[in-house]
Amino acid sequence: MIGWLGTALIVGALVVAGLAGVSALRRRGPYLVAVAVAVIVEVMLVVQAVVAVAVAAYGRQTPDEPGLFFSYLVACTAVLPVSVLLARAERTQFGSLVILVGGLVLAVLVVRLQQLWGVAVG
């Protein structure tokens, strides 16, 4: 895990959730900016995933439970795309709530991911 990137991912996921929360409170569908931030977070996630796989493959450092770690990694990369797809046909506050749920779930998953990597990360 790249320490700072993990932190950035959590912050990014919470920003997505926060923006979606605002649009939900205003009874609107998700703002475009929320989707844009979600895309950025997703790109960072893919970078993180590639780096984690590369580091583990070269044996520099492997997570304590590799199977669990890589399952979480796959789940992480799926959360935002699925949320955005689910929200797409729902241009109401409920579409926003779907994105809100996705952002919160991703934040929790990234925290678990960091724990599984088993390092004190900043």
Partner: protein, 147 residues
């Protein structure tokens, strides 16, 4: 991607279940379906002998979430009945397992989704079936005599 028909205009009770609040429920149920099933599969495959009852229960909970998710997505009266059944079983499960895990900690040496009324998951497992049943009641398919 625009929908074929405006969901607000088409008051078809049949697929009302997966729109509006239903979509949020589907998102949360889907999350729990994946999380609980994957967790149980991992527990059962790596350390089944440590706590067979707890892990089998985890697996059962996972299947209930999967069934509830599918039934919420699918259209029709039959699936509505399946959804009500699955969500009722879920409510019963979280109440029974929650109570047992609080009364007798020995019986549940390891956590399941429903342990402590879903404490490990922010009590969402306790709130979810209640919200699900309320939503299903709202979207109960009308019989042909209905409007």
């Amino acid at each position: 991607m625009s929908r074929l028909a405006d969901p607000s205009a088409a008051a078809v009770p049949d697929d009302a279940r997966r729109h509006g609040p239903g979509r949020v429920l589907i998102a949360i149920y889907g999350t729990f379906a994946v999380a609980a099933t994957a967790r149980a599969a991992y527990q059962l495959s790596t350390r089944f002998s440590e706590a067979p009852v707890a892990y089998l229960l985890s697996g059962f909970a996972g299947l209930v979430y999967v069934l509830a998710t599918v039934a919420l997505v699918r259209v029709g009266r039959a699936w509505w009945t399946v959804a009500v059944t699955a969500v009722s079983v879920e409510l019963l499960g979280v109440l029974v397992v929650g109570t047992l895990s609080v009364l007798d900690r020995q019986a549940f040496p390891d956590e399941t989704v429903w342990s402590g009324f879903g404490r490990g998951y922010g009590f969402i497992p306790l709130a979810l079936p209640v919200l699900g049943l309320i939503w299903l009641r709202t979207t109960r398919p009308v019989s042909r005599a209905g409007n």
